[in-house]
């Protein structure tokens, strides 16, 4: 066990993946000499050479397209997209090529490509540097989408993603890169299961990535207020581990979902719909969503007014509990 930041836990996961399998290659902008703008690949080019850790010309479609060709040739490319907002030029290659190649070829060609994407806000950045585009990819059949909230998961899951024979979007909660925690490199556990991080009986809060920490804070605050909250960290966003969430909601009867991404058509919608389907008779209230608003991500000095925070989550907890909350007496007209 070593104590590592979440970012360094990914670095160590990448290092292990590179060492364990010589078909693993890293591709990205500025990942070599610079070690990536977040230094996640720091030192790896020096250690494994420029043939394994390759600085790429500045074109995301080109990078992913090249990864497809490398995968065709039997490599396991791990691509770094510099920021969430710069993945869109590669959208066609991801949804029309990477996602569909295995299906298209009747299983003859595998696409074990991992696409690392630092995502989410809260770092005071300029436009395009704080996006949460996970729902686009979760809606795309053929892709897997995961994220992590702890250094342990960061390390283990990046290795699992790389080892997975399917393409994986690996979303890294960039504002938690500096969170520290113990990492056991030998830990093994399933890749696509959610985890109950706090047990509780009254309300289930489901979160992922950057908001797991916020959800835990909210649970603790609610606990002080006599409400027992169970917190589930989704970890895998596609597939969703509905069994785990169902088990929790069957117990609590109340569900609050939080994510930074825009609400409309976000993962919270899928989760609410699926859990309503599975737990209809157990639900005491409609699932509540605490999310980014249905606006573009705002400027840095407004992001605190956009992002879900502890108080907004607690307000939703009150709402599903039928207690006085912000919307008490609020009316639409």
């Amino acid at each position: 066990m070593t104590e590592l930041t979440l970012a360094k836990a990914i670095t160590s996961g990448l290092r292990r993946a590179l060492a364990d399998d010589d078909r693993v290659v890293l591709l990205g902008e500025d990942i070599g000499t610079l070690g990536g703008v977040f230094r996640v690949t720091d030192g790896l080019q020096r250690e494994f050479g420029a043939d394994r850790v390759m600085d790429m010309p500045l074109a995301e479609s080109g990078i992913i397209g090249m990864a497809v060709g490398l995968a065709y040739r039997g490599f396991r490319p791990v691509v770094e997209i510099q920021f969430d907002g710069f993945i869109y030029p590669a959208f066609d290659q991801i949804v029309a090529q990477v996602a569909k190649m295995h299906y298209r070829t009747g299983g003859a060609v595998r696409m074990p490509i991992t696409i690392r994407v630092p995502f989410g806000g809260g770092i005071g950045a300029v436009e395009h540097h704080s996006e949460s585009p996970e729902a686009y990819f979760a809606h795309t059949a053929g892709l897997r989408v995961v994220t992590c909230s702890t250094p342990q998961d960061a390390h283990t899951m990046i290795r699992q993603a790389i080892a997975c024979d399917d393409p994986v979007l690996f979303f890294e909660p960039k504002r938690r890169y500096w969170t520290k925690g113990e990492v056991d490199e030998d830990a093994t556990y399933p890749f696509d299961r959610a985890r109950v991080v706090l047990e509780g009986t009254d309300v289930t809060i489901v979160a992922y990535g950057p908001l797991v920490a916020t959800a835990i804070d909210a649970a603790i605050a609610a606990g002080d207020d006599g409400v027992s909250v169970e917190v589930v960290d989704l970890r895998s966003l596609s597939p969703l581990d509905l069994d785990t969430v169902e088990a929790s909601v069957s117990k609590t009867g109340r569900l609050v979902i939080t994510h930074e991404a825009q609400q409309f058509g976000g993962l919270g919608a899928e989760l609410a719909a699926s859990i309503t389907d599975r737990c209809f008779l157990h639900l005491e209230a409609a699932p509540a969503r605490v999310t980014g608003f249905d606006t573009p991500y705002p400027s840095a000095r407004a992001e605190e007014h956009f992002l879900p925070d502890l108080d907004r989550i607690l307000d939703a907890v009150d709402r599903v509990l039928g207690r006085a909350n912000a919307l008490t007496g609020w009316s639409d007209s």
Binding site: V25, S61, A67, V68, L70, Y72, H102, R104, G106, L240
Partner: protein, 375 residues
Amino acid sequence: MRTTVSDDGIETVLPSPPGELVQLLDPEGNRVSDPLYDPYVADVTGDQLASLYEDLVIVRRLDVEATALQRQGQLGLWPPLLGQEAAQVGSARTLRPDDFVFSSYRENAVAYCRGVRLPDIVKVWRGTAQSGWDPHTVNMATPAIVIGAQTLHAVGYAVGCLRDGVDSATITYFGDGATTQGDVNEALVFAASFHAPVVFFCQNNQWAISEPVGLQAQRPIAERAPGFGIPSIRVDGNDVLAVIAATRRALERAHGGEGPTFIEAVTYRMGPHTTSDDPTRYVDPLQREEWAAKDPIGRVEAHLRERGVLTEALAASIADRANEVAAEFRAGCVALENPAPLSVFDNVYAEPHAPLARQRSQQAAYLRSIGEVAE
């Protein structure tokens, strides 16, 4: 023809003036000499040329058969290659077995030359599968329908060959219209940056559906590559010999570690874009007629007859052979079975995926409930 060596020692092969084409067989079938490219076909015997002629005849015959199959409802769609036989056969026949192909949808003659089974060529067009063959068995990828996407895959594959220390080349086929797509231009940048052993083979058939090449390119397409640091060759795409020479030259560079080459094969799409298209809306019949006179098969035929290689008997046997292959093609096509209902769930993922398995199982229950056999 001019060869220039630029200041940094990279050889750039630029026709001069820019419009000039590499041509070794003129439309009448006369052998035109070209000091630069003659050596690349010096070893091609009359018999070999006759065998290429047979290929050309067969792929045209298959193309005609496929159009007929579409008209009869056996295929949903077909993109004819009529007029482009020499570009495809010439380049594909030049490849080594270990070279790898990333093509677009119209390269059915390339697939034929790579040894793809006849019915496998049409699975996609019949609609029984999203692709026809296992790419690794013939070293040819599943054709890409999204214009230009495959060019990047080719660069990635070629870089993979470099990393693996093998000298195989990768060739990617695309159209004149495709040269506008960002992906194709990015592929040129990446290929140049990584010195990838890749051949960019552009079939400039003058049309992107209804759009003339003039909308996509203001200069001959071959002139684009040198600015990216990639030497290029502009070749008469209706001249199978010239296409072979150009492709050999490009492959020689790729196999020899000299990096990428761009070939523009100037040809003409004599048929519709696909069987759904109505070219009478936009094609000038006079232009089409001019190109008909440059037919890729006619000139080889004339040349071989002139050389006495192609006798009446040989011509007849080739025609028979073509009809045989077409019959086999038709039989294989109509025998292709429709996919089973639950097959839509197959191969979405390579590893287990619980929710999808659940969805499949629910659909199986549904199919049972309406009395259908699921598998």
